[in-house]
């Protein structure tokens, strides 16, 4: 097993105090260390947004590309060198808005990469506009009378697009998040994890009391889908996992 310090860089991250990104970055380092993945074997790929700076502060190979375009880059890296451990990162604006099309097709394509999406329901780096996952009626700089669109349901989208690993984690629960990340990294196929995260500067308060954990994944895609489309709680854990078809 490796050490988290193997992935430590000397630069200091410039995220806001209290940002969930710190916890997510820590969890990634811990998952990599516990899975004994060496720094030179790992590639972290991201796009644009607060979250997207994560690869700058982990001592591995990083690829920080364009807004929404991480999944094609990450899949390209993996196809060119399947020996690498490639992890893709998205944000709710980056991954569900700008890169929504790539998300659907990455689910279909089922290439062996985990995809962690930092979901705080707000655009942080552009100072607080509502994002594709914001509740309908969310008031923000760009929606002074409340947003008019229904939010994207990322888990339902993933399940209906053929994803073979679908999970949700909470950035405030480090131990559980590391566990889910490790399962995603070990999954053979496209492994999607939506990570509920607070934005201390622009986001709403996270209703932690509504969080419940699944004890085990649903046995069918249909059952998992039924749960995610009609869930009055914030259910966390692995919703669905299937073995890659050869």
């Amino acid at each position: 097993m490796g050490e988290m310090s193997d992935f430590q860089r000397s630069e200091v991250p410039n995220w806001c105090p209290g940002c969930g990104d710190y916890a997510i970055m820590g969890a990634v380092k811990k998952a990599l260390a516990e899975l004994d993945i060496k720094p030179h074997q790992a590639v972290l790929a991201s796009g644009v947004g607060c979250f997207a700076k994560l690869p700058y502060w982990v001592k591995v190979y990083g690829f920080v590309g364009l807004h929404g375009r991480t999944l094609p880059v990450a899949q390209g890296i993996k196809l060119a060198n399947p020996k690498l451990k490639v992890i893709a990162f998205g944000g709710d604006g980056d991954g569900y808005g700008e890169g929504g099309n790539h998300f659907i097709h990455a689910c279909r394509r089922n290439i062996n990469i985990p995809y962690f999406v930092h979901n705080n329901e707000v655009f942080g780096l552009t100072t607080g506009q509502y994002s594709p996952t914001a509740e309908k009626g969310t008031k923000s700089k760009s929606s002074p009378k409340g947003s008019v669109e229904s939010p994207v349901n990322p888990l339902a989208l993933a399940l209906s697009s053929g994803a073979t690993f679908v999970a949700r984690a909470y950035a405030g629960h480090l131990k559980e998040m590391v566990q889910i990340m490790k399962q995603a990294i070990l999954h053979e196929g496209f492994a999607f994890v939506d990570i509920v995260q607070a934005c201390p500067s622009f986001g709403k308060t996270i209703p932690v009391d509504k969080m419940v954990y699944l004890t085990s994944p649903f046995l069918s895609r249909g059952k998992a889908l039924e749960k995610v489309v009609d869930d009055d709680k914030i259910t966390l854990g692995v919703f669905y996992q299937e073995k890659k078809e050869e």
Binding site: S10, G62, L66, R69, P72, A74, A80
Partner: protein, 608 residues
């Protein structure tokens, strides 16, 4: 001999097959062939035609006259009758009508020597109990008129149906029926040409095939493409190639944005990568071209122009994307734009593109057009190989061992890597990471997987290890590093040369680029033969631009004229901005058609 055959009909009649077959027949007889097509953006119906030119010389341009018209529909007769040469021949379906009285030029009056041959295609198909085999019947009849031995036809069918042998017999049977219906003396006996310049194993390449074959030879490992006219054939060719070669990954992603980002990811991981598209798809790629420039990622982009803007005329020709290719992306960064000017150059310049992209870690655009990509011709691969020796002036890479002459043979490209550092020692590290963006004339990266080679490949402004920064000093250093690439590349490009009359002071100098090149060359040959003083400058390297060389040539010429297939004379604009020389006399076309040799000759005769 120089024969132009035109094969016309509705889409779905098998015109492409008929053209391909006749091309193979003439190749077996020892002739050079060249074929272009004009078709509508629909799968069935419409009016399409294919030109096939057969010559004892190497040809690659369209003539206006038609020596033999193979007509499958009335529209073919209507549109092309007035271009029939005085001793031309029309072979057509017997249910079609011909009326020399209307819509006809002086060359094809009723009393001319034009031969019209009616073939009862429907009746013969019925006798054969076949439905869609009239193209093979017509080819059979054609071959008899031209005294071509039937066994040549048989061999060609066997070649063309190598992968589908079940079709050989029935097509040979149909061709035999067409061959036998013709009686009497052949009208235009064709001799087997022994005195040709093709090598022993001639091949036929389209521009698309030349690009795809060159990419494979250059060591292509990753190709992504969303289908788009006029470059879809590259995707088809490479998809088949990937079946044979498990190392090659060929992918059809969800859109062109995904296409180029897949390629950038693969290239970052070390695979030589290529994408191909046309104007609309290229528009989607533009942001990522800037990323490749900023993060210094090699990628080869094939941009096959068609008539724009927007969807435009998808199957028609234009050279309207030069400015777009030159100025694609926000901010200042280095990228290369090369415009091959023949099918042979599609091959050579694609290999050069891979070389430059990897060595200088930047995007290289190979700018072609429908006329180049979808036309095909007989190829002498030995001649191409001679052109693969290129000068290599910048030898900053320790992993390469160039020979002493300062030349690099592109044919060995697959075996050589550029700018890739395989071993890193701890003393080279900065803040524990590899300074992949270090130096003003050194472009060396580590591939993921290399021990101690970690860094960030960054679309943000970054320092040597790829760490995000907004520090003004680092910004200046990195801008200079990226922009310096063009200064180095320009030293590696082959010199510009003038075709035709070298005495420019008493000459009309024609300037052009891309697919017009071969057509203009042939026109210059004809006009020189007529005693005219005429020269031609083709500009192949658009970015970086060989400013001094071009300026020097333009300054010497007595008169200048520019030929382009676009509305705004985009090359003219580039020349003017680089050399301060404005070429006011222009011959421009933007009707979706390509220039014929005859049209160019007529225009140039007015000027010299």
């Amino acid at each position: 001999m120089d024969l132009t055959i035109k094969i016309g009909g509705e889409a779905g009649f098998g015109l492409a097959f008929a053209t391909d077959m006749l091309a193979r027949v003439f190749l077996k007889l020892g002739y050079h062939i060249y074929s272009s097509k004009d078709y509508a953006s629909q799968i069935r119906g419409g009016h399409n035609y294919h030109n096939l030119r057969v010559s004892d010389k190497d040809v690659a341009a369209d003539r206006q006259q038609v020596d033999c018209l193979l007509a499958f529909d009335q529209e073919t007769i209507k549109q092309h009758l007035h271009f029939i040469s005085p001793k031309g021949i029309i072979i057509m379906d017997d249910n079609l009508k011909i009326d020399f009285g209307c819509n006809v030029g002086a060359s094809a009056q009723l009393n001319s020597e034009v031969k019209v041959i009616m073939i009862p295609l429907k009746k013969m198909e019925d006798e054969l109990k076949e439905k869609r085999i009239r193209n093979s019947i017509l080819i059979g009849a054609f071959c008899k008129y031209f005294n071509i031995p039937f066994h040549i036809l048989e061999e060609s069918f066997k070649d063309i149906f190598k992968e589908k042998p079940q079709h050989i017999e029935r097509n040979i049977l149909a061709a035999r029926k067409g061959y036998d219906i013709v009686t009497g003396q052949p009208i235009y006996p064709i001799e087997v040409n022994h005195d040709h310049h093709l090598n022993k194993k001639p091949d036929i390449f389209s521009g698309n095939q030349a690009i795809a074959k060159a990419a494979v030879r250059a060591g292509l490992l990753f190709h992504a493409q969303y289908p788009m006219t006029p470059v879809s054939e590259i995707l088809h060719y490479l998809s088949l190639e990937a079946v044979k070669n498990p190392e090659l990954v060929v992918l059809q992603p969800e859109d062109e944005i995904a296409v180029i980002n897949f390629a950038l990811g693969a290239s970052f991981a070390g695979a030589r990568s290529m994408v191909a598209t046309s104007g609309g798809g290229f528009a989607l790629m533009v942001e990522s071209i800037g990323l490749a420039g900023m993060a210094e990622i090699p990628v080869v982009i094939i941009l096959g122009q068609r008539a724009g803007p927007s969807t435009g005329m998808p199957t028609k020709n234009e050279q309207g994307d030069l400015n777009f290719a030159l100025y694609s992306g926000s901010g200042d960064f280095s990228h290369v734009v090369i415009a091959p000017a023949s099918i042979e150059e599609c091959y050579i310049e694609t290999m050069r593109a891979f070389y430059l992209a990897e060595k200088y870690q930047l995007p290289v655009i190979v700018l072609v057009d429908k006329q180049l990509t979808e036309s095909f011709k007989s190829i002498n691969i030995d001649e191409i190989n001679q052109h693969l020796i290129t000068s290599q002036t910048v030898d900053f890479n320790s992993t390469v061992s160039p020979n002493n002459t300062g030349q690099f043979n592109l044919s060995n490209l697959k075996e050589q890597r550029f700018g890739i550092k395989n071993e890193v020692v701890a003393s080279e590290l900065q803040n524990g990471l590899y300074p992949r963006y270090d130096g003003l004339e050194k472009y060396e990266r580590t591939l993921p997987g290399t021990i101690l080679g970690m860094h960030t490949c960054a679309g943000d402004e970054h320092d040597e290890i790829g760490e995000i920064t907004e520090d003004p000093e680092i910004r200046i250093r990195m801008m200079k590093r990226r922009m310096n690439k063009l200064n180095l590349i320009v030293q590696e490009l082959p010199s510009v040369s003038v075709y035709g009359n070298k005495d420019l002071q008493n000459s009309l100098l024609v300037v052009s680029w891309g697919s017009n090149n071969i057509t203009i060359r042939e026109a210059v040959d004809i006009l020189q033969h007529e005693g005219k003083k005429i020269s031609f400058l083709n500009i192949k390297y658009l970015k970086p631009f060989l400013v001094e060389e071009v300026k020097n040539i333009l300054n010497q010429a007595e008169k200048l004229v520019l030929i382009e297939s676009n509305y705004t004379s985009q090359l003219g604009g580039l020349i003017s901005s680089k050399t301060c020389i404005e070429i006011k006399d222009t011959i421009l076309r933007y009707d979706g058609k390509t220039f014929t040799v005859d049209e160019i000759c007529a225009e140039l005769r007015k000027r010299c």
